[in-house]
């Protein structure tokens, strides 16, 4: 941050185990220096979700994508290997690939016609003889790979820092929930075309909070709950829990907010689907055992993988990726993940049902977006006031249970607190966190799903 005067107040998080309060400084959502720290510390030094392997199923397929503001090429080379390259010509920096997606063996820069193979090797420089030692020079001018790329169950992660720990170590308990997704159907899962690309006028962390917050469901989605009730589904918040999975990853386990296509039937899915769901459930029990099948099939999961991946394993399965653009603006990309093999009627029902809830045209997501855009506007009310202690948001819900060692409910704020603790550590502010009293010992509880 150079010699500029610091604009970040301290502390960002105040955690008080005597008063049982947890407060987040609202500068976290609007401060430019915080945003720069997030770009420089969080996005530069943690694993980031890039995309799903099935988005580029064939050799030579490519997509372009932006992570942490950096344009990337996500591609499969001619030999079938998955790569992530900086989408920038090593010569003078031009964006190399200007199509959103396609299939190609060679990427050619339009500016000076330097050409690269899709495994990153330099293929040709026009008039290469003008460079003194062209062979050695050429070898140094391949496409710049993202330093680390690893794949778990088809989910492709990259890191701009070569020294991040192995992906599975980073994912920890979150990894198994991705495995559970892959286990849902015997033939595995694939992404579909038809990506929901939209931008919201809100900080990216508000989107994370919203996903980890079961408390808002009933009031915010009043009209959607009414629709479910009318179609014969009784909505409930009972027996639903939230888990901190470590490293900032979080999980909501839900059972009472709607059925799940091919997993958990509800009346609006119709009788034919009931028969298919029962057959699929029996197949899962045989393949996975009753206990595992129960965790995979009978409960909805909302999984957050720090910092930019949300998996909504609810009505259907949506992958949502967050790309912060500015303190008050976030780009969102959302794909549907579906069984590779699926009855056409079930597939049609799945697409209709997922879209009816999820996405900027659904019956529920617009209210979520309204909520966090309204937070972004509303928090200006306490910015820079003479009472800086008012400029905090409260996330204390459920702490009273937490000290007793009672499992946090989905309608509490424990998963959000797990996220914020990781965040304040990741942005590298020594004085970002203030703790009063003693943290309870049973802080992280694992979950037995095998």
């Amino acid at each position: 941050m150079g010699s500029n005067p610091r604009t970040v107040p301290a502390p960002m998080i105040v955690e008080d185990w005597d008063q049982l309060t947890f407060r987040v400084n609202r500068e976290a959502y609007r401060n430019a220096e915080i945003f720069a720290r997030e770009r420089g510390w969080v996005w530069m030094h943690t694993w980031l979700y890039l995309g799903h392997e099935t988005e580029i199923p064939n050799p030579n397929d490519f997509k372009v994508r932006t992570l942490g503001g950096r344009p990337l090429i996500f591609c499969r080379d001619s030999a079938g290997e998955v790569h992530a390259f900086l989408n920038s010509c090593p010569h003078r920096g031009t964006v190399l690939c200007r199509e959103n997606e396609g299939s190609t063996r060679l990427f050619q820069c339009f500016y000076h016609a330097w050409t690269f193979r899709n495994n990153g090797e330099l293929a040709a420089i026009p008039d290469a003889g003008a460079y003194e030692s062209s062979e050695e020079f050429g070898a140094s001018m391949g496409l710049r790979s993202v330093p680390r790329l690893e794949i778990h169950e088809g989910f492709v992660f990259v890191a701009f820092d070569p020294d991040v720990p192995p992906l599975l170590e980073y994912l920890g308990d979150a990894a198994d929930y991705m495995t559970m997704i892959e286990q849902q159907h015997v033939g595995g899962m694939t992404t579909l075309p038809g990506t929901q690309l939209y931008s919201v006028r809100g900080n990216w962390k508000l989107a994370v909070e919203n996903a980890m917050d079961g408390y808002h469901f009933a009031p915010t989605h009043n009209t959607f709950v009414g629709y479910l009730r009318e179609s014969g589904y009784a909505v409930t918040d009972d027996n639903q829990y939230a888990y901190n999975l470590g490293n900032g990853h979080g999980l909501l386990v839900l059972t009472g907010h709607g059925g799940r296509i091919s997993m958990l039937w509800e009346p609006r899915f119709g009788e034919d689907e009931r028969v298919r769901t029962e057959a699929h459930r029996a197949e899962m029990t045989q393949r996975l055992g009753e206990k595992r099948a129960h965790h995979v099939a009978d409960e909805s999961h909302i999984l957050f993988v720090f910092p930019n991946l949300l998996l909504f394993d609810i009505e259907g399965l949506s992958i949502r990726q967050l790309e912060p653009v500015a303190p008050d603006q976030t780009d969102v990309r959302a794909w549907q993940l579906v069984p590779r093999e699926e009855d056409p009627d079930t597939r049609a029902l799945r697409m209709k049902t997922v879209v009816s809830f999820v996405g900027p045209g659904g019956l529920a997501t617009p209210d979520d977006i309204e909520a966090y855009e309204a937070v972004q506007r509303g928090i200006q009310a306490t910015a820079g006031t003479v009472q800086p202690e008012l400029d905090y948001s409260d996330m204390s819900r459920g702490m009273a249970d937490e000290v007793k060692g009672v499992q946090g409910r989905s309608i509490d704020e424990g998963a959000m607190r797990g996220f914020w603790r990781q965040w304040v550590e990741a942005i590298g502010l020594d004085d970002g966190l203030e703790i009063h009293g003693e943290r309870p010992a049973s802080f992280l509880a694992g979950r037995d799903v095998r």
């Binding site: 959103n100 579909l192 075309p193 038809g194 990506t195 929901q196 690309l197 939209y198 931008s199 919201v200 006028r201 915010t220 009043n222 009209t223 959607f224 009414g226 629709y227 009318e230 179609s231 609006r268 603006q329 780009d331 959302a334 794909w335 549907q336 056409p344 597939r347 049609a348 697409m351 209709k352 879209v355 009816s356 996405g359 900027p360 045209g361 659904g362 019956l363 997501t365 617009p366 209210d367 977006i369 309204e370 909520a371 855009e373 506007r377």
Partner: protein, 175 residues
């Protein structure tokens, strides 16, 4: 989308439907929507009709039943959407957006079935909300049916011309 003809009328189910009739129908619909008369809007659909908005990366030939989309409403969901939008608890549209719609480039062609015909038209919807003013641009790809009571939607489809939905541009109203 395939190119469609530019004729002044189309024959459908024993009726001759003129472009002027279709334009009047679309202008009336725009007026109804801009005045938030959602019961009046639902009355423009035949029972069983659909409302669709594909994603911005949509390609011709994609089916909403096989790909992601923004809106994929069957008759039940369409009615649920209208009921929701009439509720005070549709937070994303409370207070309502102010919209102003322009419809043009109206063209007619025959449908795949004898009792419906296709309408293509361009739209610009201006929307004011939360101190912002956004424009949504695209084209309609509708199936209409002539009835004793006038034209009705069988399929109402809005295809966006955008690369992505810009900040704040959620589709919480009818596009």
């Amino acid at each position: 989308m395939t190119m469609i003809s530019n004729s002044a009328s189309v024959r459908c189910a024993g009726h001759t439907v003129t472009r002027q009739e279709v334009e009047d129908f679309l202008y009336t619909e725009a007026d109804i929507l801009d005045h938030w008369d959602y019961d009046g809007w639902l009355a423009l659909f035949e029972p069983g009709a659909r409302y669709e908005i594909p994603t911005t990366d949509h390609r011709p030939g994609w089916s909403p039943h096989e790909t992601g989309s923004f809106v994929d409403d069957d008759w039940d969901l369409l009615r649920a959407r209208v009921k929701r939008l009439k509720s005070r608890k549709a937070h994303a549209e409370n207070p309502h957006s102010r919209t102003h719609r322009l419809v043009s480039n109206v063209r007619l062609s025959e449908g795949d079935t004898e009792d419906a015909f296709r309408v293509s038209a361009s739209f610009v919807v201006h929307r004011a909300r939360d101190g912002h003013f956004d424009a949504y641009v695209g084209w309609y790809d509708h199936l209409l049916v002539p009835t004793e009571d006038g034209l009705r939607f069988r399929l109402r489809r809005s295809v966006l011309g955008h690369e992505s939905l810009a900040a704040g541009a959620r589709l919480s109203f009818i596009l």
